[in-house]
Amino acid sequence: MSEADRGARGLEARLVVRRGAFDLDLALTAAPGEVVALLGPNGAGKSTALRALAGLVAMAGGHIRVDGDDLRPLPPDRRRIGMVFQDYLLFPHLSALENVAFGPRCQGAGRRAARRRAAEWLERVGLAEFASARPRALSGGQAQRVALARALAVDPGLLLLDEPLAALDVHTRMDVRAALRRHLAGFGGAAVLVTHDPLDAMVLADRIVVIEGGRLVQEGTPAEVARRPRTGYVARLVGLNLYRGRAEAGTVTIEDGTGTVEDGAATLDTVDSLEGEVFLAFAPSAVALYRTRPDGSPRNLWRARVAAIERHGDRARVRLAGPPFDAVAEVTPAAVAELQLSEGSMIWAAVKATETHVYPA
């Protein structure tokens, strides 16, 4: 760790938490103004990481620096962080205004000053007229905005959001997500957001950190993560077929593949010129299905068994089972009928080399 890192602004942390069989070891950074989303399946350690940042979970090692200060030795109440909890946890016995004024009061502001600051924040999140309302009287979206105002009213150096949209229904969620994005954009400090919803992560975050089993598995901008998933979990989240393999002269031999593509090994041709260990990804919509072997054979052609057919929006997702490898194809419902697809039937699948995307593993 260099001196420059130590004095860096924003969040710079290594979180080590041990809890029985589970252990979390995660390096995490967030520049001032940057929103980092922690994305991962249930039990991956996202919330634990967030609670460790807040000081609500004891750390077995590591450090937490915000704007150069090490927060790890400090109790939660002295860390100057703002946290928005999953179900907001607005104090039920206090009005919206008093909830927001709670933090400033604790920081030593006078009653009047705290209330003034709280009123400003409520104004900013568009809830000025709900100042005297009890949390019970607020809708889910309003409660979320009060929780955000409450967290921001302490002027935190670091903002933590634990599944801030999970408690909302689909319709409110869209509006609240858009509003949250605006407020996050206006926040000057580092922000860490925990979510299991890729869409929330894509919309709200500048950078995504994917964790699985307590470890970082991928990190990048939303676009990078979406285009170049590095684990099956991420690939499924962003809806891509993902394979790991070895590239040699424009052909990728799939690592876990068996049997043949057409006649040879489980290989796919690409137009990339990478060599060595690679990931290969292609979209389900890039897969074409044929009832009989097509003429003029495209190069990546294989025979597959239909394992399942699921409706996905106005399209149908066809799960293809190997050998040579598993894949998902997306076709129109009309095509399902035309091809007379049913579970267990055998079909031909093809993907153009130009539709595949190869990147280093």
Binding site: A54, D77, R80, F85, F91, H93, C106
Partner: protein, 266 residues
């Protein structure tokens, strides 16, 4: 909400019958008192100075005892619910001792500790000239001793049921432990505290055994209503019934008033 309303309408007989039997068991003795009450002489009996003295003393001491229970019992309940320490089970069991101890034994125990020659009382007497037996303060102590478990158990239950994450939320907002306790935890468990205080007050108001054993019986100073009732029973059972009814009526009125004010707000 809708489901609850729909279910509320028809209680099954299996519950209804024992519920009514239980209610009858609790209410019939009261009916017995009402039936045997000497209604014609009620007014004159009530206006006796000794009755009013005893009633005033009962209300004052029960209220003071409740205040003491709150001052010491709420922090104790908090310790039991929130601070993990070795022997917490033992301490919890010890807290309930006054519940199972016959009050008279409790009174003797208090004498042994806080009496003029007690472990602590002897020192208090020598150093400060403070003695508790035969004083109103002694009545308050006896009532506090017997009533405190009701408060501690009630508040501890409420604290255990409370969502700890509110306290975490308060901590992230910069609240220290004391601020969290009095601005978040306490308001959240307020219904439990209120229920405990009411139980506590009722128990203190009806306290007899520990009071008479520890503080004695002297009109205007240590003779509370239950003591007056007991002694009236010796010579004039009719008067005892009147006194009991007064105590009951006052208790019911106070509790009903508190219930309307406190219990329904949360």
């Amino acid at each position: 909400m809708k489901d609850a309303d729909r279910l509320a309408g028809r209680p099954p007989l299996v519950l209804l019958v024992p519920a009514l039997a239980g209610l009858a068991f609790l209410v019939l003795p009261l009916a017995g008192l009402l039936v045997r009450a000497p209604w014609s002489t009620l007014g004159t009996r009530l206006m006796q100075d000794q009755v009013l003295d005893a009633l005033r003393l009962s209300l004052v001491t029960a209220t003071l005892a409740t205040v003491l229970c709150l001052l010491f019992g709420v922090p104790l309940a908090w310790m039991l619910a929130r601070v993990p320490f070795r022997g917490v089970r033992l301490v919890r069991a010890l807290v309930t001792v006054p519940l199972v101890l016959p009050p008279v034994v409790g009174g003797v125990a208090l004498l042994l500790v806080l009496g003029r020659r007690g472990l602590v009382g002897g020192w208090l007497d020598e150093a400060f000239g403070i003695t508790f037996p035969f004083t109103t303060a002694g009545v308050v102590l006896a009532e506090t001793f017997v009533a405190m478990p009701f408060l501690v158990i009630s508040v501890e239950g409420a604290l255990r049921a409370a969502d700890l994450r509110y306290e975490e939320a308060a901590a992230t907002l910069g609240a220290g432990r004391w601020t969290i306790f009095h601005r978040v935890t306490l308001p959240l468990v307020a219904p439990g505290v209120a229920a405990g205080a009411v139980l506590c007050w009722a128990r203190a108001l009806g306290e007899f055994g520990a009071t008479i054993t520890f503080a004695g019986n002297f009109p205007g100073r240590t003779q509370t209503m239950p003591l007056a009732v007991y002694l009236a029973l010796e010579t004039d059972p009719q008067a005892a019934i009147v006194l009991s009814l007064v105590l009951l009526a006052v208790a019911v009125i106070v509790l009903a008033a508190l219930r309307d004010r406190w219990m329904t707000t949360s």
